[in-house]
């Protein structure tokens, strides 16, 4: 690179990053602990805050496994079978990425709300979805729907079915072949997809705000708690909660970074004698269309 431009470009690039990302995020940590660690701790251990934490955790524990099973299932279907509507299935799975989360929340209300399509049926059976826990789970699951598929599907397509067929000829049932051959080969991309899904579910805001009614102590997730804290002039609570989420984000980043390195290394070692491998799958660390966290 032309030495004349090297330093100026570097300064501009790093400066932009510092102003836009580093300093703002750093300031969150600063503000959280501005009045001491105890104050921050107290702010996130109020009954409302603790409830928000538990609620968020519970949502993750339900939504993520559901999406994972769904994601693996869809990937298997799309990778193994060719059928007319395949592109449509793929598009619909990706759809949540193109939709504003507020719209996702609204859409769910229109179906499961009191005046929604299933409103009467749900009321008759005493099932509450909107303004209640199930609705939060559904909203979180919807916005995070594509991530597992996006990660697992390309890997399944690249591997092909030869290994599974070989396993079959050796006497394995389809379940055994799946367990012993398919699953280990998608292990890494699956873990990655699950991480992204978890991060997304944790950080969802817009959809949950619409669907839950944000009732403190009842239907507030951690992200809602943060917003509420700001509105209620409780900045320390907000920033402390934000720190929790930021730390999780940093963990996700480490996974992201490690995965990036892993893919690069795999690419390098692929140029050996393996005759069937022709192309490296482009690093899909950012193969997810939209942010893993909510928007």
């Amino acid at each position: 690179m032309k030495s004349r431009w090297r330093l100026p470009l570097r300064i501009v690039a790093l400066g932009y990053l510092a102003l836009l990302v580093v300093i703002p995020v750093g300031s969150v940590f600063y503000r959280a602990f501005q009045h001491g660690f105890i104050a921050a701790w107290d702010a996130v251990t109020t009954p409302d805050a603790v409830h928000a934490l538990w609620l968020t955790l519970l949502v993750v524990l339900i939504a993520v496994p559901l999406n994972t099973v769904f994601g693996v299932g869809v990937s298997l279907i799309l990778a193994r079978h060719r059928f007319r509507g395949a592109w449509l299935l793929d598009a619909f799975v990706d759809l949540p990425l193109a939709i504003s989360p507020v719209v996702v929340g609204l859409a769910l209300v229109l179906v499961y709300g009191k005046t929604g399509w299933f409103g009467n049926w749900l009321a008759a059976h005493g099932i509450e979805i909107i303004f209640s826990f199930p609705g939060i789970v559904m909203a979180s699951a919807t916005v995070a729907l594509p991530y597992v598929v996006r990660e697992v599907l390309p890997v399944l397509q690249e591997i092909g079915t030869d290994q599974e067929q070989a396993a079959t000829t050796l006497g394995a049932s389809s379940f055994t072949a799946f367990r012993r051959i398919t699953l280990p080969s998608i292990r890494r991309s699956l873990a990655y997809g699950v991480t992204l899904t978890t991060a997304r579910v944790l950080g969802e805001f817009g959809a949950v705000v619409v669907v839950s009614g944000a009732i403190a102590g009842r239907t507030q997730t951690l992200t809602l708690f943060i917003q509420d804290s700001i509105d209620n002039l409780n900045p320390v609570g907000a920033y402390a909660g934000a720190v929790i989420l930021a730390i999780i984000a940093l963990v996700v980043l480490t996974v992201l970074g490690a995965d990036r390195e892993g893919r690069k290394a795999k690419w390098r070692s692929r140029s050996d004698q393996s005759p069937s491998d022709s192309e490296m799958p482009l690093p899909s660390t950012t193969s997810v269309l939209m942010s893993p966290m909510d928007h």
Binding site: S27, S291, H295
Partner: protein
């Protein structure tokens, strides 16, 4: 015993798998989207049009589209510069820089909004207050779309054949000419794709904007905020109508990107 039970279940299992999947998809995506579309036109085409062209709706949409366009364009250039530095420059801590670029990706948007509020809002240590101002929206959108702009261009830059640039230089081209005529044309499709992704992302953004913008109607209210307040005041049909517009715009942009990708053979890095 176990084996025969499993054997008996298998045909049933073969059918239930796809059925469950389609059911899950329907409950979460297909039905809700259909409901949005249906509700938009619930009272006829006329009321759809009214809801969308209502002054506050128009203002919100206009603000959203303009800000998103600005951010997409600006971050394309910023993304190119940053990607360039990542690919062509070498300095300690490059990995950290890479992580920083992905940070807006990994961070919940409400936290993103909080960070911007803390620094460039009312209690700003810099004395810069962009809260309740349109520029705050631009900041927030620039923050969340940064990774798209960088990561869409980065792999293309990395794969650029240096030999082409060397050949141009040996033929007498100055570095600015090399930039203009050799490098930019190669990265342009990827930049375009990245800008499109950033745009589609930005128009739907809610969490990061909601804190810093103040959501002042006609001033700093973006489309997603307007939809939110419509839904809170039970004007669901109007909310659905504006939502449909947003969905349509996003789909058109994403479809266009798909075409650009196929036409110029850009891979999917983002």
């Amino acid at each position: 015993m176990r084996r025969s039970l499993r054997g008996a279940l298998r045909p049933a299992a073969k059918a239930t798998g796809p059925t469950l999947i389609v059911t899950y998809l329907s409950l979460l995506v297909l039905l809700p989207i259909a409901a949005i579309l249906s509700k938009s036109f619930e009272n006829g085409l006329g009321s759809f049009w009214t809801a969308v062209t209502q002054p506050e709706a128009r203002a919100a949409l206009k603000l959203t589209l303009i800000c998103s366009l600005l951010v997409a364009a600006f971050n394309s250039v910023a993304g190119l510069v940053i990607a360039w530095v990542l690919v062509r420059d070498d300095f300690p801590g490059k990995r950290v820089v890479s992580a920083v670029i992905d940070l807006p990706f990994a961070l919940p948007t409400i936290v993103a909004g909080l960070t911007l509020l803390s620094l460039y809002g009312p209690n700003s240590p810099f004395g810069i207050n962009v809260a309740d101002a349109r520029i705050g929206i631009v900041f927030a959108l620039a923050f969340v779309t940064l990774p798209f702009s960088v990561r869409s261009v980065q792999p293309v830059l990395a794969e650029l054949d240096r030999e082409t640039e060397d050949a141009a230089a040996s033929l007498g081209a100055s570095s600015s000419v090399v930039l203009r005529r050799v490098i930019l044309p190669s990265v342009a499709p990827a930049m375009l794709a990245g800008a499109g992704l950033a745009f589609a992302r930005a128009i739907g953004e809610f969490g990061s904007v909601v804190l810093i913008s103040g959501n002042l109607p006609f001033k700093t209210e973006v489309a997603s905020s307007w939809i939110y307040s419509l839904s809170q005041s039970d004007q669901l049909s109007a909310a659905a109508a504006v939502s449909t517009v947003l969905i349509l715009i996003a789909l058109i942009v994403l479809g266009a990107i798909g075409i650009v990708r196929r036409r110029f053979n850009v891979g999917e890095a983002v």
